[in-house]
Symmetry: C2
């Protein structure tokens, strides 16, 4: 079968086709428009670069489109967005890219927007030698300002969901031999691939926070997401908030079949791309929230001290000698 590539289609037809994924006429003008109605806007930008953040062997373009949207919405949620308005997409692709790749990418983008809200507001497409999807996402700031620098000594550290699954999914998709001595069961394999290819976010997070708020005067909380791994998330909070994180290894939630061992701890803490929310709350609020939302667990607390991470049980401190994923 002949595969249709972008340079055969030509720019004019490409823009026409991209326009079909968008609300009427969006691609036809110089700018996109947001009617703001006195809301404060949250803006997030994330770029996914081929062979740095993804490659065609490990992820299908439809999953990639989904994931590109979710990674942006996750950042919006971790800042306290109450609603996703939409996204603009800046796509860079080689001239030899197959049209079907672009089509599947946009299919995934629109599926994620349908699930979590928001629409495509505009976009552009350029030629380049490395596929790059750069998305700017717009959300409306809710009542609670979630910021990296708002954790306080005494706050409980919490996380949604569990970590490490996306890393395991990536290793399975990449055919990386993760550990010869351990057998991973089929359920965990399926779940990990699902987490890697179709990560989910928590649109009810903000609502549940508001429902369980113990003190209405508190409107700023420490929060970030675990896109670069749990360790990096806690470190970012500690540095921005200038306090020390004490983690309780035993409390950290894992999949029931997650293997034990040093390597598996590494995957868990440094894996990344799980898009879980990592945040801190006063004790009472934390207790209320955990009772309401079974997806949320306490994993430690913040204390006075130099920005750093410690384990309560210092047998696990060796873990901290690892370094998080670096882009350079």
């Amino acid at each position: 079968m002949h595969k249709e590539i972008i340079e055969d289609i030509g720019e004019k037809e490409l823009i026409n086709r991209l326009g079909k994924f968008m609300p009427k006429n969006q691609l036809l003008d110089d700018c996109a428009l947001i009617k703001a109605r006195n809301d404060d806007l949250l803006i997030n930008n994330d770029s996914l670069v081929e062979n740095i953040h993804f490659n065609d062997l490990t992820i299908h373009p439809e999953d990639l489109g989904w994931k590109a949207v979710v990674s942006n919405i996750s950042d919006l949620l971790s800042s306290g967005s109450k609603k996703t308005i939409g996204i603009t997409i800046s796509l860079i692709i080689p001239a030899k890219t197959e049209w079907v790749w672009v089509e599947e990418l946009y299919k995934g983008i629109n599926k994620a927007l349908k699930k979590y809200g928001g629409k495509i507001l505009g976009g552009d497409c350029s030629q380049g030698n490395q596929k790059t999807i750069s998305i700017t996402a717009f959300g409306i700031q809710g009542e609670l300002e979630l910021r990296r620098n708002a954790c306080k000594p005494g706050d409980i550290i919490l996380t949604t969901g569990i970590h490490g699954l996306s890393k395991l999914g990536f290793m399975i998709q990449s055919k990386i031999n993760f550990d010869n001595n351990v057998s991973v069961n089929k359920r965990l394999i399926r779940k990990s691939i699902e987490h890697f290819c179709r990560p989910k976010v928590y649109p009810n997070f903000l609502k549940n926070l508001l429902k369980t708020r113990s003190n209405k005067k508190i409107n700023k909380l420490g929060c970030t997401d675990s896109s670069d791994g749990l360790y990096q998330a806690v470190q970012d909070l500690a540095i921005a908030s200038k306090c020390k994180a004490i983690l309780n290894y035993e409390k950290i939630p894992k999949d029931k079949d997650w293997p034990k061992g040093e390597k598996w701890d590494e995957y868990y803490f440094f894996g990344g791309e799980d898009y879980e929310l990592v945040f801190s709350l006063p004790k009472k609020w934390a207790t209320n929230l955990i009772r309401l939302d079974k997806n949320i667990n306490e994993i430690g607390y913040f204390a006075n001290g130099e920005p750093s991470i410690e384990f309560q049980d210092n047998k696990k401190d060796a873990l901290l000698k690892n370094t998080p994923f670096k882009h350079f």
Copy 2:
């Protein structure tokens, strides 16, 4: 001298250094924030890709930074933005990129923002094998909606400034032999390089439009910018507005030393990157505006008919057989 490259600096230090170009703490959080105060926001995204849109031989990174901002502000102005709020910057660079390149780029970005208003709201930096500067710019929609689809038969077509200079500047910088039979004087060479490296925009454009409005009921106008050349701009207006553009070759403003000849017409009409505004107005309004602003000239009119471009003097119709610059 040892040149410091990005992978020697490391990600953490890179983010620290980039933070110094921004308002306090902007890089430290997941999202940027815009306080919208009931204004409608205009959003524009433009990506500049190395070896497609620029290369290090023809443009200095400080000029490139300036130009990246100006190309976005030009799009905002051509939609009727009354104020630039700011920009987010998504930078992709190879690990071997020299730090000084990034520093100069940001210097140019900040110079343009200082000149035309707006600040850096946030950004991210990823590794990739081709330098890419993707800017999203935010403006406030003014009283007049300028849109590609708002030209009307009978409207006068106007342009700010003159076209072709940026193309000539590019050819000079690229050492492309533009025309052996023509001598271009030093003033025009200097001016063309200036237009290519440091294009300007028209922040008073909207104010002058409002000052000269003959009928207060009209609040929507046809407009775009000539980033892809004068021909492409007029064609985009004609297609989006579903009418025919009739251009008067004799009226089209040129630099006083611009050489005559077919090639020079091509550079003029298809050159691009001049960031002039191309727009249409009812006759009376056009006359008022031209009287007020000496930078603006009438170049033709829109008529009923299939979306297309014609010259009044059909001797010039051969020009139209050319095709504009294509990205694919």
